[in-house]
C-alpha cells in the first residue's frame, strides 16, 4: 500500500501534460522524418531501376552511332531521340521543354573517334533543382546510359581492333570519355553534378544545423536568463536599482547572442570533425568542391576541362559577398525574432517546471523547419504545407541561402519582408513586456503549468 502511494505520487509528478506532450511530439517528429526519408529512398530505388528507355540527342552524323542505337533498339531498349538546335553547350532549354532531369548527348565526331580507335566523347547533362537531400537525389544522373554505350564500344573495339597498340589498350579499357554538364538556374556549365551536390550538401545540411543550434541555444539562454531572475526575484532587485530596463534587456540579449555564437561555433567545429570521421574526409572535400566519385566516374573516365569554381559561378551557384551578407541578415533577423519571442515567453515562467513547458513551442518552431529544409526544398512542396512552413518565421532563415542560390528572388524578398514585420511585432511586444507591469504579472494559464493542475494525477504537492 505504502509503495503504491509513493509510486503514484512519483508518477504524478513526472507524468505532467508537458512530459506527455513532449513524448507525443518526439514520436510524431520521427514518424514525419521517417516518411520524408522513405520518400527519398523510394526515389533512389526508382532511379536504380532501368525501365528500358534511354533518352538522348544524337549530333553525330557518322554511321557507328546510328548502328549503335539500332542495335539497342533490337535488344529491346526504347531509344527516345530528341532534336537540338541550340548554341554551343547550352542544354537547359532541352531539359526544360522535355521535363527531363538528365540527358545524354552524342556529339559530332563520336563515330569518327571510335572508328579510328580513339576514346569516343560523350556529354551528359544533369539538372540540379534544389538543396534538400531529396532534391539532390532527384537531380541525380541516370548512370545506365553511358555504361551501355561504354560496353557497346568495348565490344566494338574487341571485334574491330585485333592488333592493338599500347595507346589502343588504354582506349579499350576506357572506350568513352564522358564530359559532364550541370544545368541550374537556366544556365549550363561544364561541371559534374556531384560537385554541385557536394557544395549544396554544405548548404542543405551544415548551414541549417548551424542555424538550428544558434536559434535553440540563444532562445534557451535568454529564456533561462529572464525566468531564473524572475523566479529567484533577483530581477526585482535589479530593476529597482538605478538602471534602465532597456539597458538590462539589451545586455541580456547581447550576452545571449555572444554565448550562442560561441556555442554554435564550437558545436559546428566538433560536428565537422564528426562528419569528417564518418565519411572518411569525403564530406569536407565535397564542401570544398573537390573531385567527387560516383559509379559513373568509376566506370568511365571523366574529362573536366573547366575550373570548378568558375563553373559554379557560371551556374550562378557560387556564393557572392552580397549573398553572404543577405544570409547573415536573415540569420540575424531570425535570431532577433527568437530572442524577442523567448524573452516574452520566459517572462511567463513562475517556477522551474513551467520553464521546460515554455521552451517547447520555441523548440518546435525551430526544429520543424530545420528537419524539413534538410531533406526537402520547401519551394517544391504543395501550396498548403509551403504556406504553413513559411508562416514559421525561422523557416525563412533556413531557406535564405537556397533561395539566393537558385534565384528564387520572390521567395527570398517575401521572406525577408515577412520576417521584418514579424520582428517589428515581437520586438514591440518584448519591449512592452519588459517596460510595463506585464514583466511581473504575466504567467502561464494554470491548466498549462506543468506539475500543477496539469498532472495526470490531480494537483501537485
Amino acid at each position: 500500500m505504502g509503495f503504491g502511494n509513493l509510486l503514484k505520487k512519483e508518477l504524478g509528478q513526472l507524468l505532467t501534460r508537458q512530459a506527455i506532450f513532449s513524448m507525443i511530439f518526439t514520436m510524431a517528429l520521427f514518424i514525419m522524418l521517417g516518411q520524408v526519408m522513405g520518400n527519398t529512398m523510394g526515389k533512389l530505388d526508382e532511379l536504380d531501376k532501368n525501365d528500358g528507355t534511354i533518352t538522348l540527342i544524337n549530333l553525330d552524323t557518322g554511321d557507328l552511332s546510328k548502328k549503335m542505337l539500332d542495335d539497342f533498339r533490337a535488344e529491346g531498349t526504347e531509344v527516345k531521340l530528341l532534336s537540338y538546335s541550340g548554341n554551343g553547350d547550352d542544354y537547359s532549354s532541352v531539359l526544360e521543354e522535355n521535363d527531363l532531369k538528365s540527358i545524354l548527348i552524342i556529339p559530332e565526331g563520336f563515330s569518327a573517334d571510335a572508328e579510328s580507335g580513339k576514346s569516343a566523347k560523350l556529354k551528359f547533362v544533369t539538372k540540379v533543382t534544389g538543396t534538400g537531400l531529396a532534391n539532390m537525389i532527384d537531380s541525380g544522373t541516370d548512370g545506365g546510359t553511358p555504361e551501355m554505350i561504354s560496353d557497346y564500344l568495348q565490344k566494338y573495339y574487341h571485334d574491330n581492333f585485333l592488333d592493338v597498340t599500347e595507346e589502343q589498350i588504354e582506349t579499350y579499357e576506357a572506350p568513352s570519355t564522358v564530359v559532364q554538364f550541370t544545368v541550374a538556374n537556366g544556365r549550363t556549365a561544364e561541371i559534374a553534378p556531384e560537385m554541385v551536390s557536394g557544395m549544396l550538401m554544405a548548404v542543405s545540411v551544415v548551414m541549417p544545423m548551424a542555424i538550428f543550434f544558434l536559434l535553440m541555444m540563444a532562445s534557451q539562454m535568454i529564456m533561462t536568463a529572464i525566468s531564473t531572475e524572475k523566479i529567484d526575484k533577483t530581477l526585482e532587485t535589479l530593476l529597482s536599482s538605478p538602471v534602465s530596463r532597456i539597458g538590462v534587456l539589451v545586455a541580456k540579449v547581447v550576452a545571449a547572442i555572444v554565448v550562442a555564437l560561441l556555442n554554435a561555433l564550437t558545436t559546428m567545429i566538433g560536428f565537422a570533425f564528426y562528419l569528417n570521421g564518418m565519411t572518411g574526409n569525403k564530406m569536407v572535400s565535397m564542401m570544398n568542391v573537390g573531385p567527387a566519385s560516383s559509379e559513373i566516374n568509376e566506370a568511365i573516365n571523366e574529362a573536366v576541362t573547366t575550373n570548378p569554381v568558375e563553373a559554379l559561378m557560371q551556374l550562378g551557384i557560387g556564393i557572392s559577398g552580397g549573398q553572404i551578407f543577405l544570409v547573415f541578415l536573415e540569420l540575424f533577423i531570425g535570431l532577433a525574432i527568437g530572442l524577442c519571442a523567448s524573452l516574452i515567453i520566459g517572462a511567463m515562467a513562475t517556477d522551474i517546471q513551467s520553464l521546460s513547458t515554455l521552451l517547447m513551442p520555441v523548440m518546435i518552431l525551430t526544429m520543424v523547419p530545420f528537419f524539413i529544409t534538410m531533406f526537402m526544398d520547401i519551394n517544391s512542396m504543395g501550396i498548403v504545407p509551403k504556406m504553413i512552413l513559411y508562416a514559421i518565421p525561422f523557416t525563412h532563415t533556413y531557406t535564405a541561402l537556397n533561395n539566393l542560390i537558385f534565384q528564387n528572388h520572390a521567395a527570398f524578398i517575401g521572406g525577408l519582408v515577412y520576417q521584418l514585420v514579424f520582428l517589428g511585432a515581437t520586438m514591440y511586444a518584448a519591449v512592452k513586456v519588459f517596460t510595463t507591469d506585464l514583466l511581473f504579472t504575466m504567467k502561464l494559464p494554470e491548466k498549462q503549468a506543468a506539475g500543477k493542475s496539469g498532472s495526470l494525477f490531480g494537483k501537485g504537492k
Binding site: E236, V243, D437
Partner: protein, 242 residues
Amino acid sequence: MAVLSVNGLTKCYKKGTNAVENVSFEVNEGEIFALIGPNGAGKTTTIRMIATLLTPTQGDAVVNGHSIVKEPAKVRENITYLPDEAGAYKTMKGIDYLYFMAGLFSSDKAQIEKYVERAVNMCGLGDRLEEKINGYSRGMIRKLLLSRAVMTRPSLAILDEATSGLDVINALEIRKTIKKLSREEGMSFLLSSHNMLEIEYVSDRVGIISHGHLLEVGRIDEIKEHYNAANLEEVFEKVVNV
C-alpha cells in the same frame, strides 16, 4: 520631514478588482514605518509600486520630491528594495555580488569601494564572502542582501518581509541592524510583514492593511492605547474585525 509621501495609491490587476485602493501614508526621515497585514492584503503590491516595479492605476507616491509615476528613474536613485524571499546570483561570489550591485549606484571607483566596505562590515560574513553564493544558507543570503540594501545609505530602504524564513538568531540580528541604522544614521525604512510581534519591536509607526485598504495608521503605543490592546496582534484583530 517626509521622505516618502503616498497619496491615494490604487492598483487594479483585473477590471473591477482593486488589489490596493486609495492608500495614503507618509514615512518621515529616520523613521521605521511598517505595513502590516495578512497574506494577500496588498502590502507587496503597495511596496512594488513605490519601488517603481509596478505602475499605479491611480494616485502617486513621492520619494524625496520625485514622483514614482513621472520620475521613476530619479526615485530608484533614492531607494533600495529587498523583495520577500529574494535570491542573489548564485554563480557569483558574495563579494562580487556586492561590487556588482554597488556598480549600479555609482560609477566612481572610490565610492564603490566605500559602499562595499560598508556592506562587508555590516553583513558579518567574513571570509565566506569569497565563496560562491550557491553555498550560502538562507540566513547568509538574507544578511548579504540586507547589507546590499543599506550599503548606499538610501533615503528610503524598502524591505519586504525582511526576516521571513529565518531562525530566531538571524531574525534578531537583522531587526537590530535595522533599528541601529535608523537611530544612528537616520535612515528611513518602509517594512512590510505579517509578523506583528516583530513589527512591534522594530517599528516607530505602522499602517494596518487588509483587502487592499489601509485601515489604520499611527504610532504603535498610540494605536494600542486607542484600541485598548496589549499588543499589535490584538490591535489588528480589532481593526479588521477578525
